[in-house]
């Protein structure tokens, strides 16, 4: 009897652990399948025909149709630079360096990958629509209340995700030699 009970507990714990690990690796991104830069995460093989099983599972589970990597690369941010979860009750400043790509967009989504409906019907900024700073970078505020410069309105649903897409990244010789990615924007929490 003791053996049977132990066996049942063993199976239950193993299943729960296995499912938990699956959920965690697909929601936060396994280190095997993603790369991180300043809190921005990208799925390395998203859009590849020979994508790894983690990437395929993530894409199928979330219902995305990823950009081919040679066309555009997609970066997701769930946390600010102090590793606090992004939340609609706070105001954030996205400080972008000069963008090293032919075109870019920054959009905000809820956790299901849907855009936030808002009265001004602004869901993203891109290379043309964003007000660019003198030094070439950009400042975008993400907030429920109106903000100066570039304001991206959000609803009041709770946690949210920022998505930054770079079309045809342009690398410097140094970046190619050192195999480093283009610089990513900083996400600073202004207030809550």
């Amino acid at each position: 009897m003791t053996f049977f009970l132990r066996f049942v507990v063993f199976v239950l714990i193993a299943i729960m652990l296995g499912l938990g690990l699956t959920s965690l690796s697909l929601s936060t991104g396994s280190a095997l399948a993603t790369k991180s830069e300043r809190g921005w995460k990208s799925w390395k093989n998203a859009g590849h025909v020979d994508a790894d099983p983690y990437t395929r599972a993530y894409i199928a589970k979330t219902g995305q149709l990823p950009f081919p990597p040679q066309i555009a690369q997609t970066y997701y941010a769930l946390y600010d630079n102090a590793h606090r979860r992004l939340h609609t009750s706070c105001t954030y400043l996205i400080e972008g360096p000069p963008v090293e790509a032919k075109w870019w967009t920054l959009a905000v989504y809820d956790y299901n990958g849907k855009i936030f409906e808002n009265p001004v019907q602004r869901y993203s900024f891109n290379a043309e629509s964003a007000m660019v700073r003198f030094e070439g970078g950009f400042h975008i505020y993400v907030s429920q209340t109106p903000q100066p410069e570039n304001w991206l309105p959000i609803g009041s649903q709770g946690p949210f995700i920022l998505v930054y897409r770079l079309y045809r990244k342009t690398f410097t010789d140094e970046q190619v030699a050192k195999k480093i990615d283009v610089p990513m924007p900083m996400i600073k929490r202004v207030d809550c």
């Binding site: 063993f10 193993a14 967009t105 079309y167």
Partner: protein, 182 residues
Amino acid sequence: MKISSFTWALATLVLAFIVHISMVLAIPHLSENDAWRRLLNNTKPNQMQIIENLQKGNQLWAFHAPDIKYAVCRYDVTRAPVHINFQILRAYWSIALYDDEGRNFYAADGFDLLRREMSLQLLGPDDIKDNTSTALPISVPSEQGIAVIRAPIDNQVMEKNALENLKEATCTQLPEAKRIKR
């Protein structure tokens, strides 16, 4: 039979790992939410459709880019090859082809092209290229799949031009009589 606690713990970890790997491998086949199934419910085969008209408040795919206009064709080459034609207005406009598991096998954007007109001929496993056509022949890995034209837009004027341009895009199946088989 006596089994030590260490053995139980080790066996638990091994089984957990097996459950984890099995789930990861199974999700793409079991998911009812993937891009292909979402498209199946909203489109007809071999017709180019502008996604904005399909949305009606709901996005077809998760993380749908708000500043991109999409034209989509759910191709099916079971009976005959499919031709896709459209014009690229900006260098960063692109076309991408995916199989019915959402895996991309072809992509091109305006930076790759020397002319604005783009013409593709999607061929099934038994088809050979029609030499009278100037379209780029592409052998598709699955008989059904997705062709997506992505048109990033800069402003409202561009949006209007983009939509007018995407409405001209076509996705048509050749008549079976014109099919050239191996």
